[in-house]
Symmetry: C2
């Protein structure tokens, strides 16, 4: 019976998106991310900006956008070799516009270069038709993933 | 009585560090950060890598390191004008070595350039004597902070 407990806005996950069931570590802490496979072989990864993702201005915190960018930019690399973990080597992130509380944020990436174990991907994050963040990531494959995760 | 509930390692916060009491939003979600003012006028910001910060390899997740970098690189800018929020414009983050579960991760930054409202800071993050991440951030002041936060 406290007035700081509000019913959340009703939210319907857009068609085709399935939640990633990351139950441990930072993937869980960041909150539910969603994936959708696209007809062209690409993917869209997404999340809803909740209060816990916000900064003091009630926009998505830059740190959350960067963490999401890491998981979006790295995913296209991951798809090339699903049985291995990858590590981030370098990220360049340009913040174009804010994502507000309640926004459904989407992102995708594509591998644009490879030099041995180093993969470069280019990614972008948007809300509706508006660009939120663009950038480039360099990733490297590390140890094999365990069969049961 | 489950074997996946383990006593945490005993942890003593290093001398001079005080916790940041961020009780809302992404600052709280990331977990407790600590600050220490340094004699030269600079600062050290820090956190302990807990299980909830980790990736599948039990190292600190790259996304968490990037979010921490945002809060470290931006802090030197924030100190120049404490009554305003700032937003991140661009971050370049180079990952030098991993931070492991249980590591005490420290970082600092300094403003190295200003062009009107745009501030550039250079920062670094380390564990003990080992570099973990280095980079550069560009930040811009936004709306005034509210008096009561």
């Amino acid at each position: 019976m406290s007035d700081d407990i509000l019913d959340p806005e009703p939210f319907t996950v857009p068609a085709g998106f399935a939640p990633l069931n990351w139950r441990r570590g930072f993937g869980q802490v960041m909150g539910t991310l969603y994936d959708r496979a696209e007809a062209d072989g690409g993917f869209t990864r997404a999340f809803l900006v909740e209060e816990r993702h916000t900064n003091g201005m009630k926009n998505c915190h830059g740190g959350m956008l960067m963490a999401f960018a890491d998981m979006v930019f790295g995913h296209s690399v991951s798809l090339t070799r699903k049985d291995h973990h990858w590590v981030t080597i370098r990220m360049l992130t340009d913040f174009i516009s804010p994502a507000a509380l309640g926004d459904w944020v989407e992102g995708t990436s594509e591998v644009v270069g490879r030099d041995g174990d180093l993969y470069t991907s280019r990614g972008r994050i948007w809300v509706g038709g508006r660009a939120v963040l663009t950038g480039t990531g360099i990733f490297k494959f590390a140890t094999p993933r365990k069969a049961s995760r």
